[in-house]
């Protein structure tokens, strides 16, 4: 188990590293100064051939189209944008590339005077993700702010998804091939078909604009009360916390975000429940004379819960994708909204930070999901 976890962690680190490098390459391709041969592609476009008019040039983005040329130069200098991206060949170009002295010079240059290795070492040694363009706010700070908001939203979305998915899934499995089942399954396919922004806009239209019941935009914790949601008795075991308190401003976004994973969960839950219900121990439980609800809730549902964890793990990427759309509609200042505006403004450090965070979260979540199988089902052993 420990060996398995360590090996998976190693692979996870590799994946995150690959993602980081890929994003770096993508964001440092010189779109407006394209390399013309492979030497230039590896070593960078030589200075005398650069036009310095690139729209994606951070200095240009900060100062605008008509920014002072000298200031652009100074900012490029400060941010180290004129340094080579991957390889610094100064030590070799000086001529003494055979002497070991130039090698240490080479490693020093690679560490401090190339954009890729400088940012990589800054990240690994100082946990420094750089500063956002224009505002110069540290990216890590912005990410923590955004992630805390998105975490609330995602948790609320998961609550909606689990409540909806388990209810529909259990009902349709118990009443298999009746109209309850058909209705629930058509509803579930509709749920995975509906675009998030349609759910969001319809709910804003009805609940915010027409009935004026719930806030539809932004998040203001100070004024708004909490909404207490009582979970149905068959979802939480007796004695557990029976209610979930949602901040009122998160209700509509959580519904918009939770519909899709909820529908996926309902379909998965139905399939697994139908498999479990055919097992011998269910027949035994029925033969003991237990009433049908006890059989379903205590014996069947608990054994059908493994796919719930799987789907939640798989839907995590979907939740983050959904968070971009949800936060854009409801103007919630979370990670999704932040990355959307970062992409619109070509805020490269922020884009890279977001992608890195997202990939770390996703890889770790997958690892946790795999490990939780072994926890939920002791027959599964990783060696």
């Amino acid at each position: 188990m420990l060996v398995y976890t360590l090996r998976r962690l190693l692979v996870a680190a590799g994946v995150v590293f690959a993602v980081y490098t890929l994003t770096f390459c993508l964001s440092h391709i010189e779109i407006f100064n394209p390399p013309v041969n492979w030497v230039e592609a590896l070593l960078g476009v030589p200075e005398e051939k650069r036009t310095k008019l690139g729209l994606a040039d951070p200095a240009r983005l900060m100062l605008g189209q008509h920014g002072d040329v000298n200031t652009v130069e100074r900012i490029r200098e400060e941010l180290g944008l004129d340094d080579p991206v991957f390889f610094n060949t100064r030590a070799f170009r000086s001529g003494s590339y055979l002497s070991p002295a130039s090698w240490s010079q080479f490693f020093h240059d690679q560490r401090h005077e190339t954009q890729y290795f400088r940012s990589l070492f800054n990240l690994l040694l100082n946990f420094d993700l750089g500063k956002a363009n224009r505002t110069q706010q540290p990216v890590s700070e912005m990410l923590i702010q955004g992630a805390s908001v998105t975490l609330q939203l995602a948790l609320a979305g998961i609550v909606v998804a689990v409540v909806m998915g388990l209810t529909l899934g259990i009902l349709s499995a118990v009443y298999q091939n009746t109209w309850v089942d058909r209705l629930a399954m058509i509803g579930a396919i509709l749920g995975i078909s509906v675009p998030i922004y349609l759910v969001g806009l319809v709910s804003i239209l009805l609940f915010t604009k027409y009935w004026r019941l719930l806030p539809g935009v932004g998040m203001d914790e100070s004024v708004l009360p909490w909404l207490t949601v009582h979970l149905p008795w068959f979802i939480v075991p007796p004695g557990w916390l029976l209610e979930v308190r949602l901040p009122v401003y998160l209700v509509l976004p959580a519904i918009a975000l939770g519909v899709r994973p909820g529908a996926a969960l309902a379909r998965m839950m139905r399939t697994t429940m139908l498999e479990v219900i055919r097992q011998d121990y269910i027949r035994t439980a029925r033969a003991k004379g237990l009433d049908e609800w006890t059989v379903v809730m205590k014996h069947a549902v608990r054994n059908a819960l493994i796919p719930v964890v799987t789907v939640l793990g798989l839907e995590l990427a979907g939740l983050l994708t959904g968070a971009v759309l949800t936060e854009t509609i409801f103007s919630i200042p979370g990670l999704g909204y932040q990355s959307w505006s970062a992409l619109k403004d070509m805020n490269t450090p922020l884009i890279m930070g977001t992608v890195l965070l997202v990939s770390v979260v996703y890889v770790l979540a997958n690892l946790l999901v795999d490990l939780s199988y072994a926890f939920l089902d002791p027959r599964i052993r990783y060696s």
Partner: protein
């Protein structure tokens, strides 16, 4: 066929018009296909088609998709206006009604559907019905092109990974992991942001380039279960080359899962394109893309609620159709999976 700024002028001497009519006729024939008599012999595909016909929801999906294709091919006949024609008079009349007329103090007003503009006009005076009709072309194009790209890449890589195994399998599966590890929309948006907003055709291809891992996985799983079978062993014993075994013997047997995956992938592709356009990274004005229509009119949710809702419902309907058909195909092609 050309547009004179207001409507499409159809010249029946041009081949495009006739191609569209022939395609529409084929679609009508496909709509009648469930009524056709079935052959007496049996095969995988005939049995699957029989099972599919019995599946009510799958047939609903089948007809939704065929209807959508019909609308797309007959768009110049059905949508009365060109998608970019602006009727200023209609906008002025609406704003007069909204600001000082009979809707002056209502939050949610009744839609001003009329005989001239069946589903009214948007805030720039463009006919919503025509834009919805011509938007179906974009949605179907993204479905077909992106899945074509995804199948071309995914099948080959899946076959190779499953057949050869070893490090090449590990490498390809790691690649699929990395691609799937990204939130889809964020990855596409990152690529698009880096290279600038591309043309709509490029977006179709990008969605396909990122959609191949799911197909590669399905193909690989199928190949892994097939390559130990006797017929592959026999082919190898007869001296067949790897390429021949892969493309002559293995790839036909991966068709069924690919078809299912493509149908579901088309639903995903339509949703992705609409989402990208909604966020401003996909189709640009004046392309009549459904996602873009939602984005551009969501500010008018009150009081013109139907402007963003109608294209949203159109997206949902198209995706719903592909999902229904995909589910039905899975049940029909792999009855063991059916619960």
């Amino acid at each position: 066929m050309h547009d004179n700024g207001k409507i499409f002028v159809l010249s029946y001497s041009s081949p495009e018009v006739w191609l569209r009519l022939v395609a529409a006729a084929v679609l009508v024939l496909l709509m009648l296909a469930p009524l056709a008599p079935m052959p007496v012999w049996r095969s995988l595909w005939i049995d699957a088609w029989k099972r599919l016909k019995r599946n009510l929801s799958a047939m609903a999906g089948y007809y939704i998709i065929l209807g959508l294709c019909l609308v797309a091919f007959l768009a110049p006949w059905i949508g009365p206006y060109t998608p970019s024609y602006q009727d200023y008079a209609a906008v002025e009349q609406r704003s007069a009604e909204t600001l000082s007329g009979k809707y002056a103090d209502t939050v949610v007003r009744l839609p001003d559907f009329s005989g001239e503009h069946w589903l009214s006009v948007d805030n720039l005076g463009r006919d919503v019905f025509s834009r919805l009709v011509h938007g179906s072309v974009i949605s179907l194009e993204v479905a077909v092109i992106s899945q074509g790209v995804a199948v071309a890449i995914g099948t080959v890589l899946g076959l190779i990974a499953g057949y050869y195994g070893g490090w090449i399998d590990a490498l390809l599966m790691a690649a699929t992991e990395v691609i799937l590890a990204f939130p889809f929309l964020l990855l596409v948006m990152t690529i698009i942001a880096m290279f600038g907003i591309p043309t709509i055709e490029t977006i179709f291809v990008i969605i396909g380039l990122i959609g191949w891992p799911s197909i590669a996985r399905v193909v690989r799983a199928q190949v892994l279960s097939l390559k130990q079978k006797e017929f592959i062993e026999a082919a190898r014993a007869m001296g067949a080359t790897d390429a021949r075994i892969l493309f002559q013997h293995l790839s036909p047997n991966t068709m069924a899962p690919i078809i299912v995956q493509v149908s579901l992938g088309m639903a995903g592709a339509i949703l992705s394109e609409a989402g990208l356009s909604f966020l401003g990274f996909g189709a640009q004005e004046p392309t009549p893309s459904w996602g873009l229509m939602v984005a551009k009119s969501q500010g008018d949710l009150v009081p013109l609620w139907w402007l963003p809702i109608l294209p949203g419902v159109a997206i949902m309907l198209a995706v719903f159709g592909f999902n229904l058909l995909g589910d039905g195909l899975r049940d029909a092609l792999d009855p063991r999976m059916k619960t």
